[in-house]
Amino acid sequence: MSTTADNATNVAIDTTTDSTTDKETTEASQRNYAEIVYNGIWKNNPALVQLLGLCPLLAVTSTVVNAIGLGLATLVVLVGSNIAVSLIRNYVTDAVRLPAFVMIIASFVTSIELVMQAYTYELYQILGIFIPLIVTNCAILGRADAYAARNPVLPSALDGLMMGLGFMAVLVILGAMRELIGQGTLFTDMSLLFGDMAIGWKLVIFSNYPDVLFAILPPGAFIGLGLLIAAKNYWDAKAKTRFDKLHENDEKVSRRVRVTD
């Protein structure tokens, strides 16, 4: 099993050069849907493992509603661009591959921005420049090149959906942490996304809360993200020790499994 650093490096290599690594071929031929789901949400989570798309992650996660808004926008772009790239993957030459992908992603993001400006205007104003900045989210071009360009439409779509959900999950958790510690509330301003019925969703966890500025500003976001990554790594390490303990007497069987992997 490759390590976190391995995953991150492999994806970085995938997006910038054409070299084919063993990991890439294995990933490319992965049609197992369960594997795709697990990959996107946990093992290869864009925010906690690949460490991509950190700019919007750190900047807009000051409240839950902002996090959900940007998470949804990124998710829609991811699914859309993965489907589109997968559809054209056999018709685009290597030379113009990346410009074509970027054009697809850029047009999706522009369309999403227009849709948000038309139907969720206040949230659009709050998220401001971070909506068009979705184009620069490396997770999107990364998935397009590493996965969608080598796989059929359905797996690509699922991969985009799972990566998007994994990213959004981290956004929302971080948003909740920062809103709780920074303002002492949860679900403030949810009406920006869900309309008037969501006004009553606001939970004031601590009343008369002195705002903790640190959590609201970017340094708090960095530390929050660091804590989440540490938590995930701790969990993974624990799971591995448990797994190893269970199989410490299966020496011969384990070796054979590894060879045929």
């Binding site: 697809i104 047009s107 369309s111 038309a118």
Partner: protein, 209 residues
Amino acid sequence: MEILTSIRKNSLGLGIFAVVTAGLIAITHQVTKLNIANNIVKAQLAAFTEILPAHYFDNDLYNSKIELAANPLLGADNGSKKTSIAYVGRLQGKFSAIIFETIAPSGYSGKISLLVAVNKAGVVTGSRIISHKETPGLGDKIDIKKSNWMRSFDDKSFTTLAFDKWLVKKDGGEFDQFTGATITPRAIVKAVRDTLTYFKDNKTALINQ
């Protein structure tokens, strides 16, 4: 010749992509155009009615825009900004109130845009910040969502508050400053005061717009 065919093929391919992706944007733009225009007007109108109560005007405020020659009192510096915008509110055709788009040039992190609504008698009916880059938690208390400080201008005029009291308390005036952030409130108080001064100096010209 292989290179030429390759160039031709790739250019054609990329060209098709450009048309398709631009086409998607064009379609979305058309579908959302009306909604977006409505949203912009609605937001602007909502901002207006917050500072100018409805009984002050019966005209189409948003389309009663006038341009005023650059004046440092409104934050226009004759450099990049040659005119200032104002919106005239009328009751039965007669001048009733005016909303100025003023710029406070000396915010802590640069210029701050605000709206100042002044009625015929020279009283500030309300003022709100349009855009700013002030420090979150410190200077951003000028944002009405963060604190009610901007309401301290409501119903004030040079008759109710002498000109030399239009300063922050630290400078000997009447307006609260924020703990840890004096520059921001100072800049806003000055901007509102200057706007009132501009109205006083140009009252006749403005009323006859």
